[in-house]
């Protein structure tokens, strides 16, 4: 998968879960601190990643600091593809 396509699909998913299109621009904002993700929404992200990319990330496999920004989430998928 092209990097561009990966990014776009992640952005679509996060825009949906965070309910805010600003995630497309604000890729280094801490989504938990910004109130856009909480523990439950973070699970939705993991489920969404599995559905969209077939990449299975267990909730226990990543700590919050490893997946708290748009760019970090993209990276976590990229290294597993």
């Amino acid at each position: 998968m092209e990097r561009n396509e990966l990014e776009n699909r992640v952005l679509d998913m996060l825009e949906d879960i965070c309910e805010d299109d600003a995630v497309r621009e604000e890729r280094d904002v801490d989504l938990f601190e910004a109130g856009l993700l909480d523990s439950l929404a973070a699970i939705e992200v993991l489920v969404g990643i599995e559905e969209a990319f077939g990449v299975d990330i267990a909730p226990t496999a990543v700590e919050r600091e490893e997946m708290n920004t748009v760019n970090k989430i993209i990276e976590q998928i990229a290294v597993r593809l």
């Binding site: 309910e19 604000e26 109130g35 856009l36 439950l40 909730p59 226990t60 919050r64």
Partner: protein
């Protein structure tokens, strides 16, 4: 008070039984808990008159529970405040409401933020509490609470921006506790303690575990911050009775390890605080074949919960939402219309709770108390009544079915929130001209809150950044679960024909 006597009985007959364990490794036996609360009660009685509320501040440390018991023994209602759910400004607002003539006693097992000049405080920090416990002392039994004395005052979101304190009496507590033991079988068990002590869901396990000679297993804040820490804590817990909001259970269910293999001894799960989705119940029954699932319902004003039903596979698998159950002995549920007249069986109306666990009222708020509380007779005895503001109906079997709220209160992940409370805090900010907060609903449940804000001056940055800044301002004043997920800026709030904010129109734009 029966509750204190039950704990005393275990402390005397089986003193080495573990009473409290936390995921941080702290523990107390019944004997230690009893002696600690005796010493603390003696100290509290020396500085506070009977009836004077005492703030107990902390997270899940065993000392916090010892302080609750100590307050009961000193005749002083305790006011539980969780460090991670209640921000400093809110702590100050609560302190101002409960202060008396003497400095307000604050028993803080976590670093106390202070109360910003709200009132004078006599602070006992963790070291001081340990010192009092090690020096020992005994309570004066004539000061123990009983009957209509207050056991605790629990502050919940109020529609005007200040939290309001629900007055739960010793009898309310004992009457609830008797039913709690009936639901759980009454034999000593290890109970999960997950909800913050400032949320009365936690009274399910405080009452049930300690009155039966069982053990409270408390998940400290740190253990709830990552899935791996949470699962590790649960794996070593030995939990037999689970108490949580449905939201917390679905968070756990996202981990495939969460099942009978992780908690082999689990035999009962109790849910309260919000609607239990059928799917969550079904997955729990599947993952924990040996554990029964109970759905319960009740506002803080009627002491934790007043109805219950065991959820069967069939109920969980049905398309109808789960009922919240039938009334406990000592409680009667009535459904009334807007004029207060009884509705025909099966029709929707406001849920009224009558019985021996209805709280005395709101602390120092006769205006609010009069609006919602009343009196009646039940089985020949005088009891209080409470108009919940919840909408529901009773079926032919006397089962209550909950449908939602009649006002601007919402439940988000089990937390009770008055939208007016958030709006008032937004309006107090100089950069806000007008504000309305509406819930966004996904698949029938509130998924998050959206604040619609009319700025006082043109935004000097992107709406996203301006929204972040507003959320940051709110964070100092409101619990984390009350911070809206999204801030939308508008030129004006839409109005209905009669000049009220058109919340329906706002809810549409939130979709």
């Amino acid at each position: 008070m029966k509750y204190l006597e039950s704990i005393e009985y275990t402390a005397r007959t089986l003193p080495q039984t573990p009473a409290l364990r936390t995921s941080a490794g702290d523990r107390m036996t019944y004997l230690e808990l009893w002696l600690a609360s005796e010493a603390l009660a003696s100290r509290i009685a020396g500085i506070a008159a009977p009836g004077q509320p005492v703030m107990v501040y902390g997270n899940k440390h065993p000392l916090m529970v010892a302080c609750f018991l100590a307050c009961m023994k000193a005749g002083c209602p305790y006011v539980p405040v969780d460090r991670f759910s209640v921000p400093p400004e809110r702590v100050a607002s609560i302190a101002a409401q409960i202060a008396g003539n003497a400095p307000l006693p604050v028993l803080a097992s976590e670093p106390f933020p202070g109360v910003e000049g709200a009132c004078a405080v006599e602070l006992f920090d963790g070291d001081e509490l340990f010192r009092i416990v090690s020096e020992g002392g005994f309570s004066d039994r004539s000061r123990w609470i009983s009957g209509e004395d207050l056991a605790y005052i629990l502050f919940t979101s109020g529609s005007t921006g200040a939290p309001k304190g629900v007055e739960v009496t010793a009898d309310c507590f004992d009457n609830f506790c008797a039913w709690d033991l009936e639901l759980s079988g009454g034999s000593p068990a290890v109970w999960l303690d997950q909800a913050p002590f400032s949320f009365d869901l936690s009274v399910f396990e405080l009452a049930g575990a300690l009155a039966s000679g069982g053990t409270l297993f408390s998940l400290v804040h740190d253990s709830q911050q990552s899935a791996s820490a949470l699962l590790a804590a649960l794996a070593s817990s030995g939990i037999e009775v689970w108490v949580s909001t449905p939201a917390f259970a679905s968070l756990c269910l996202a981990n495939p390890e969460f099942g009978q293999g992780l908690m082999a001894d689990l035999r009962l799960s109790i849910f309260c605080g919000e609607t239990l989705p059928n799917a969550t119940a079904a997955r729990l029954l599947e993952r924990f074949p040996s554990a029964r699932v109970l759905n319960t319902y009740g506002p803080t004003e009627s002491t934790v919960a007043v109805t219950s039903v065991e959820v069967t596979d069939e109920m969980a698998g049905a398309s109808d939402p789960l009922p919240v159950g039938s009334a406990r002995p000592g409680t009667r549920i009535r459904i009334v219309d807007a004029s207060g007249a009884e509705c025909a069986p099966g029709s929707l109306g406001e849920v009224v709770i009558e019985g021996d666990t209805v709280a005395r009222g709101y602390y120092r708020r006769p205006d609010l108390t009069e609006r919602s509380f009343g009196a009646c007779e039940l089985a020949g005895a005088p009891v209080r009544t409470y108009r919940t503001g919840d909408e529901g109906w009773l079926d032919g079997a006397g089962m209550l079915h909950y449908r939602g709220r009649l006002d601007l209160q919402v439940k988000l992940n089990g937390f009770r929130i008055e939208l007016g409370d958030i709006e008032e805090h937004l309006r107090r900010l100089p950069e806000v001209a007008a504000a309305a907060v509406v819930p966004a609903v996904r698949e029938g449940r509130v998924s998050h809150l959206v604040a619609h804000v009319v700025p006082a001056a043109p935004l000097s940055t992107t709406p996203f950044r301006a929204g972040l800044a507003l959320k940051e301002r709110l964070r100092g004043a409101l619990p984390h679960y009350m911070i809206p997920k999204k801030v939308a800026f508008l030129d004006a709030l839409p109005m209905t024909g009669n000049g009220k904010v058109d919340r329906r129109a706002l809810a549409e734009t939130a979709r």
